[in-house]
């Protein structure tokens, strides 16, 4: 496991101004190293700083201290548009544009990159196949005509449009019913196209992290509690709280075939 580093956080801190003007420390000096091709889950209870961490990577948020390195370069020195087009971004509600049909949503970035129409259409169909939606029947539907699960599939397809080496996902399956979520998680895990990609996945669902991630970064109150493989997490949890947390997992209870 000596893969080169894709993303590296060096004592990254981020403080917000709270509702009453008081400083809110979302992250306090986080160090994290994500290798190329790895799927890393950011796991922890609500408010622990997962989303903040993710958004620091594509510069939707700037750090108040420390720095973020992407492909060895300081993210702050990379043009944010260029940086973001090199990273797919999927959010919980899909974030699809309601006034564009499925193909326009998926093809938008290709279009902005100046690709030809025919090439875009082919790419859209290819991506729809990839996320297991029949192009002929879904291409021209609007987001309002899709189920929650279908919308998330389109969201993933859109994130992959420019074939970015990195994929950032913020609780992508969080809003779905358990059955659909399970379906999407399995399909997602089986996606050939994702094998080489560096994926950062925010989740508060332990099972999801165990199922999808190569390594799990457990956050608590803005600090990194443990960064380890699922197996290590089960075998050697960093503290009693984490041990109890891990023990609640179905996968941990049912064995270690993650």
């Amino acid at each position: 496991m000596n893969a080169p580093t894709a993303i590296r956080l060096e004592s990254v801190g981020r403080t917000f101004v709270g509702a009453h003007g008081q400083p809110v420390t979302a992250l306090a000096g986080l160090d994290l190293e994500i290798a190329v091709g790895q799927t890393v889950a950011l796991l922890g209870p609500s408010g622990c700083g997962k989303t903040t961490t993710l958004r620091l990577i594509n510069r939707l948020i700037e750090p108040t201290s420390g720095r973020v390195l992407v492909g060895g370069r300081d993210a702050a020195s990379i043009d944010p548009i260029e940086l973001r087009r090199g990273m797919g971004y999927v959010i919980q509600s899909g974030g699809l544009f309601p006034h564009m049909d499925v193909s326009a949503n998926i093809g938008l970035l290709c279009e902005l990159e100046g690709h030809e129409r025919a090439r875009i259409d082919a790419r859209v169909d290819e991506l729809l196949e990839l996320v297991r939606l029949d192009p002929a029947s879904y291409r021209h539907r609007y987001p309002g005509e899709l189920s929650g699960g279908q919308r998330q599939r389109v969201g993933v397809a859109r994130a992959l449009a420019l074939d970015p080496p990195v994929l950032l996902m913020d609780e992508p399956f969080g809003a779905l019913d358990p059955i659909t979520r399970g379906e999407l998680q399995r399909d997602f895990k089986a996606l050939e196209a994702l094998v080489d990609k560096t994926i950062v996945l925010v989740t508060h669902d332990l099972d999801e992290a165990f199922l999808l991630a190569d390594r799990i970064a457990v956050l608590r109150r803005g600090e990194l509690l443990q960064f380890a493989t699922p197996q290590e997490l089960i075998d050697r949890p960093a503290d009693p709280w984490l041990a109890r947390f891990v023990a609640g997992s179905r996968i941990a209870a049912g064995g270690s075939d993650a």
Binding site: R55, N58, L60, P80, I81, E82, L83, R84, R85, G88, Y89, I91, S93, G95, L96, F97, P98, H99, M100, D101, L108, L109, L112, R141, Y142, P143, G144, E145, R158, A159, L168
Partner: protein
């Protein structure tokens, strides 16, 4: 209030004489205007008819422009060529002479000389009537008491009750000065709205009121005006005012207007005012009949189709081409204004989005404009050099009214876009300009269009006031009809205007739905 309304509506009307054509060379046109009351319109119509009959000029009569200063400024700037005014008004309001004057001849020669020197405006020979302040009593009571002059009144005043209009009551050159000048003392003096005062006098609630010497209500209530025998009230002799430049270019105007010299007196003028105000006859008919009776006009007069009150539908049908033309003018005014407003307010709304302070400022300013009464705004605009009595003023006023709905809807439309979508767009790597164009604007379009729709409907309504300043449109027949007591005329403007507003609302509603994002 009734007077105010009447004045406002009167001020709106534009009456064009036949043969008038806007494509005629400007030098050959002669534009006569009048102020916003009946007498002024009758006098102006007399001028228009006389000039049309006795010169080759193309005459246009702009009825009811507004008050003295509006007419005067319009004359000075050359927007109009002529209007009737009163010596006392020229003396006190235009020249602002501080001294009181009572000698009519001195007043006339003074204003004539000063106007010539200062403004190159000529006071022509007076009409002969004098419309000044007066005290009025019931004819019967005046007879019984033997009162003919104000001096006669002094002895009886302590047993009489007076009611004076607010304006007269409070002015130094009104009641206060009059009391001192004659040593008048009534049993009771109370301020009263002018229209009510006539009723109060007729109903013997009061015995003396203030009036105008040529007031058309005098005959109806059988009133007598008392002669100002000790010369307290300033003289208000009426005469046509003409621009010196026009007179030099058309010396024949002197002869033509000379025919109107002293054709009238107070009693005759009172009678003509009565015909229009109380009997509801049309200004042009009353003016023409009178001039024919004095041989100023030939028996046929200017060949002008007799407008008789016919059934509404044939009347509308007869006017169909004219109405069509007015609809065109009306649409041109309102749609151009709305287009300009949209071209200004949408980019402004975009520029100030997410800037709370700028947004409050802009919406505040547009909101303030919205609260200015339309007539006041128009009056204000025509006083600005470069605007004047023109289409430009009307369009600019309509433009200002259209700003708020469009700006407000642009701002709310953009703000109404789900922040999650903006966040997603940013996160997948769209530039702010791309987010605006691809996400925010398309999603805000229905809201913006709703603003444009509101602005258009408002604009079509307000555009009826454009007639006020001679900018055309369907307001012309409306206000002309209100002014001339012609219901058919009012409807000839009001019905198409209402239909137009409805139609625009429907059409833009349809466009709005077509533009709405699917899904």
């Amino acid at each position: 209030m009734r007077e105010l309304l009447a004045a406002a509506f009167a001020a709106l009307s534009v009456v064009a004489l036949p043969g008038q054509s806007s494509s005629a060379p400007a030098a050959q046109r002669f534009v006569v205007a009048s102020k916003n009351f009946t007498e002024s319109a009758i006098l102006a119509e007399m001028i228009a008819l006389t000039v049309a009959e006795h010169t080759a000029l193309q005459v246009e009569h702009k009825t009811g422009l507004g008050g003295t200063m509006i007419c005067f400024e319009a004359l000075r700037q050359g927007d109009i060529d002529c209007y009737p005014d009163y010596t006392g008004t020229g003396w006190a309001i235009v020249l602002k002479e501080p001294a009181k004057i009572s000698d009519p001849l001195r007043a006339f020669t003074h204003v004539q000389r000063r106007y010539r020197e200062l403004y190159d405006i000529e006071w022509m020979a007076p009409f002969g009537l004098q419309n000044s302040y007066a005290l009025a009593m019931r004819e019967a009571q005046a007879d019984a008491l033997g009162v003919v002059t104000i001096s006669d009144l002094v002895a009886h005043a302590p047993e009489l009750r007076a009611a004076f209009s607010i304006e007269f009551h409070d002015r130094e050159d009104g009641w206060a000065g009059l009391r001192a000048h004659y040593g008048l003392r009534f049993a009771e003096v109370r301020p009263m709205e002018h229209g009510l005062a006539y009723e109060a006098l007729a109903g013997e609630v009061v015995d003396v009121i203030d009036a105008y010497t040529t007031d058309g209500k005098l005959p109806r209530y059988h009133l007598r005006t008392l002669r100002d025998d000790r010369g307290f009230f300033p003289p208000y002799h009426a005469a046509p005012l003409v621009r010196g430049e026009v007179l030099r270019a058309h010396p024949e105007l002197r002869t033509a207007l000379g025919r109107l010299a002293y054709v009238l007196d107070d009693a005759t003028m009172t009678g003509l005012n009565y015909e229009v105000e109380e009997k509801g006859r049309m200004v042009r008919d009353v003016a023409r009949e009178f001039l024919q009776s004095r041989d100023v006009l030939g028996p046929g007069g200017v060949s002008r189709p007799e407008v008789t009150r016919s059934a509404l539908l044939p009347f509308l049908w007869d006017r169909r081409w004219q109405t069509l033309w007015l609809i065109g003018e009306h649409l041109y005014l309102s749609l151009l204004a709305v287009l300009l407003a949209a071209a200004f307010a949408v980019p402004l709304g975009i520029a100030i989005r997410d800037r709370r302070f700028a947004e409050r400022l802009a919406l505040g300013a547009a909101g303030v404009v919205q609260t200015i009464p339309s007539l006041a705004l128009l009056m204000f605009l025509i006083a600005i050099p470069g605007f004047g009595l023109s289409e430009r003023s009307a369009i600019f006023a309509l433009f200002l009214y259209a700003l708020l709905p469009i700006l407000r809807n642009t701002v709310t439309g953009l703000r109404g876009v789900d922040p999650v979508l903006v966040d997603a767009a940013t996160g997948i790597g769209l530039t702010p300009a791309q987010i605006l164009r691809r996400v925010q604007l398309p999603l805000a379009v229905p809201t913006i269009m709703a603003g444009v729709r509101t602005a258009t409907v408002i604009g079509i309504g307000v555009a009826t006031l454009a007639a006020f300043i001679g900018a055309g449109g369907l307001g012309g027949p409306i206000v002309q009809g209100l002014y001339l007591n012609d219901v058919n005329l009012i409807l000839a403007g009001a019905i198409p205007a209402a239909l137009l507003a409805l139609l625009a609302d429907r059409a833009l509603g349809f466009v709005e739905r077509r533009l709405a994002p699917k899904g």
